[in-house]
Amino acid sequence: MFGFIKSQPSYKADLSAAEVKARYQHWRFHIMFTMYVGYAVFYFTRKSFNYAMPAMIADLGLDKADIGMIGTLFYISYGVSKFLSGIISDRSNPRYFMGLGLIATGLINILFGLSSSIVMFTALWILNAWFQGWGWPSCSKLLTTWYSRSERGFWWALWNTAHNVGGALIPLIVGYLTLNYSWRHGFIIPGGLAVFVGLFLCWRLRDKPTTMGLPTVGHWRSDKLELAQENEGVGLSSQEILAKYVLSNKYIWLLAFSYVLVYIVRTAVNDWGNLYLTEQHGYDLITANGALSLFEFGGFVGSLVAGWGSDKLFGGNRGPMNLIFAIGIFMSVAALWLMPITGFVLQAGAFFAIGFFVFGPQMLIGMAAAECSHKDSAGAATGFVGLFAYMGAALAGYPLALVMQDYHWTGFFVVISAASAVVGLLLLPFLQAQSPTVTGNGA
């Protein structure tokens, strides 16, 4: 029944060079556009709860602890789902995988908008987290098969900004709907939108180029590095690939650990930022959220700069750019912490800078994970580091709240500055491995 989800076998059609070029150009553009819209809408159904929450508390009298628990459970199950669906998505057709995932989250959001009990909310939201995880592995599979190594930084960065666009639009949409109608509309309308866009994805997305009779992207662009990765470990079964290139790949583990820390910073600033501004600097909620939206905007610019820089300055190497941005994270967190005066522009500038520096590694680490594993395990590799990322996100929730209870905002900033300093340290062995001086003693 679900046979159509499985990835079709590759075949080679007789196409002239011009035809191959035309098809590639056509589909690269359309797939990017479709993925972009699709992933932004994934964000709508993911974040709707966060922004409808104040109204739900007022309306239904929910407990804050319950909401915190739902958030933590969501992060954990989202991470797990990212990994598991990453493994599955490597063997399936992203066209239907991503599309059906989006339709499912849309339906769950609609159901969520219609229910009223906390048990129902928790169950539905965990289920939602499960289907949310179907988006990113499919996208990473598409990004690694349709775009080649030397240009991927730019394309991936472009796609990555869908995070920020979705993240910036959803508070406006949900805020408008809750204000004018009710919080239930804040779920039902994004949900309906998601179902609609999910159908659009099923219609417009495609599988790997080779399943459409095209040559691989490495061949088409004659990208040496890409070809090298395509030829790595040919003929292994998918279990062997998973074990060798993901689970026992030390570099993936290293990336995973630094991803935990990046996500601690990202989630901490994102989730606690407005509280910090209101408590410490006496902002009202609207201004605080306004300053916080600069975080997403900074992220938008930051991912583009990081992607472009890693392509152009370092020839497709993500490590050095990662290190520069890791230093930047530390600096910008320190700047927000130490800021001696209160002024909307200044605080907003600091949030912009944090967003700018955090979203560089947020994107580059995912990309590096896809690139240092097997071509056919890109989804599993990115899903694996994603699992760790959301462990970090979960750590930034309840455990960070405990730190703040005892040590106040100083504790909060000490934790995230330490986390950002260690990001840089964890990336050093990576650079060590990439520097030519150790070529001789690799064993």
């Binding site: 790595e232 470990g233 060798k244 490590g319 520069i324 002024g343 520097s435 690799g442």
Partner: protein
């Protein structure tokens, strides 16, 4: 062109963000927004512009001017026009420095020092006309420069000057170099140094600045000036932490101690680096020398072998022919004169033959070529009549991975000659009753020759024993030569105490060539 535009925009964003963050941090430091610009952001712009092509300077300076103007408007500080002027005035200086900023590390650091001082003077001229005092401007500019500009150089040389092996799946085959011990050690160092700055009781407070030297020295010793710089940055964090924590240090004191420790750190680091570089050079020269002498030994041996072969083949045959001719002459010629001459010829040619034979043996042990090393040693023992002299000789071969035929010629000859010299000595002087020769062929070749004779005095060690030449040759081949002997008096003592470790022991280790 499009490429240039996009890269410019990207670097503009990157620099704007870093500039802003550094300004905020500097502001927190000295609580004076204008001086804060001179502290870190100016130094950042200086460091970055020194290390980027001039084509990208519009982006670098653009970021600075944009932020200066916007902050001036935001904080209502119209006199910041002077800051802008200082920034513009620095362009020709940096332009000039950029040209000189090439070549060796030492030269680059000198250029950096020069440009830091020059731009600081410019800042003094531009800014101290209003408000802040001259010395404060100077101090702030130099402190910032000392901390940030070398860091920019460090990042630039580490990230941009090395070629990176692309990250691919075949990285898998490489082992991770994650030095947990180092990281642990340096973390402890860092924590201790912060604790030292914060936690020292008031009576000991004046020792706190001295403690700053410890991480600098340790890191400089391990990693050269880069390490020293890292140490100074860690120290800066410690100092800042200390200031915001307990000590109510004046801003000037803080700045002074920051720049002093940065300066000492970098200078110390450079000094250590120079010593290390010299050391490395020396080591290289030494190994080159050793290589050369090894080559020399090999060349000598091959020349000897060639000459020996020529002598043996040519002269030997000719002498045999001469003797045959002489004996024919003796039989054919009946006159006594003729017979005498023939006898003379025979005798002389025999002399030549003997001399040549002696020469041949000295030039090249012929048995080695004919029989191989193992047999040649056995033959040597037989020739020296050890058994007849009452010496019980044992030869032990420990060969596991390969056997003696695979050794190079130079090694074989050296081993043979050592045996020859040593056995000669044993037979002539040692008065031994037992002799053991042990050959061990592993990663290196080891030979030990042990007898239970009377030994010799340490001061006679190698004196006139013909072994000195051997020692030099072994050392030239990169091996070790050790000669232990229990001397006559000691021998009697050990004999009384019943130990059987008497006699002489010669051990030689030769690398596989």
């Amino acid at each position: 062109m499009r490429n240039y535009m996009v890269t410019s925009i990207c670097s503009w964003f990157l620099l704007s963000c870093s500039w802003f963050c550094l300004w905020v941090i500097g502001y927190y430091f000295i609580m004076e927004p204008e001086l804060a610009i001179l502290l870190f952001p100016f130094a950042l712009r200086l460091g970055v512009s020194l290390h980027t092509p001039k084509a990208y300077w519009p982006a670098v300076y653009g970021a600075e001017w944009w932020l200066t103007i916007s902050l001036a408007i935001l904080l209502e500080q119209p006199q910041w026009f002077a800051v802008l002027a200082a920034s513009i005035a620095s362009i020709p200086v940096v332009w000039f420095a950029h040209k000189l900023h090439v070549g060796t590390q030492w030269r680059r650091l000198c250029v950096m020092a020069g440009v830091i001082v020059a731009t600081s003077l410019l800042n003094v001229v531009a800014i101290s006309s209003h408000g802040p005092s001259m010395w404060m401007v100077m101090l702030v500019s130099i402190t910032g420069g000392l901390m940030i500009v070398p860091s920019c150089y460090l990042i630039w040389s580490y990230l941009f000057q090395s070629t990176w092996i692309p990250l691919t799946a075949n990285l898998l085959s490489r082992s991770i170099e994650f030095r947990t011990r180092h990281i642990f050690f340096y973390t402890i160092l860092f924590v201790v140094s912060i604790a030292m700055q914060i936690g020292l009781p008031d009576e000991l407070r004046r020792f706190a600045p001295f403690c700053l030297a410890i991480p600098i020295i340790l890191l400089a010793f391990r990693y050269g000036w880069q390490g020293a710089l890292l140490g100074t940055l860690l120290n800066s964090v410690a100092l800042i932490a200390a200031r915001s924590g307990v000590s109510d240090m004046e801003v000037t004191d803080l700045l002074l101690s920051l720049s002093a420790q940065s300066l000492t750190g970098i200078l110390l680091g450079i000094g250590i680096q120079r010593q290390r570089d010299l050391n490395v050079q020396l080591r290289k020269e030494l190994s080159r020398n050793q290589n050369l002498s090894r080559q020399l030994v090999k060349a000598e041996e091959s020349v000897r072998r060639d000459i020996a072969r020529e002598l043996h083949d040519e002269i030997g045959q000719n002498i045999t022919a001469i003797r045959t001719q002489a004996s024919i002459l003796k039989r054919v010629e009946n006159s006594s004169m003729g017979e005498r001459c023939a006898n003379m010829i025979e005798g002389l040619s025999l002399n030549v033959y003997d001399t040549t034979k002696g020469l041949l043996i000295r030039l090249r042990p012929k048995t080695l070529d004919d029989l191989g090393l193992e047999e040649a040693v056995v033959q040597l023992v037989r020739d020296l009549e050890c058994d007849a002299n009452g010496i019980d000789t044992k030869i032990i071969w420990n060969t596991t991975e390969y056997d003696a035929t695979e050794l190079t010629d130079a090694t074989k000859v050296t081993l043979y000659r050592i045996c020859q010299e040593a056995l000669n000595n044993v037979v002539k002087y040692a008065r031994a009753s037992q002799l053991t020769l042990t050959f061990t062929l592993e990663e290196s070749v080891r030979l030990s020759i042990q007898d239970n004779g009377i030994g010799f005095k340490p001061e006679d060690n190698l004196k006139g024993f013909g072994l000195r030449g051997m020692r030099e040759r072994v050392q030239a081949l990169g091996g070790e030569f050790k000669l232990d002997s229990v001397c006559c008096q000691q021998l009697t003592e050990t004999a009384e105490s019943g130990a059987d470790s008497s006699g002489t022991r010669l051990s030689v280790v030769l690398p596989i060539l």
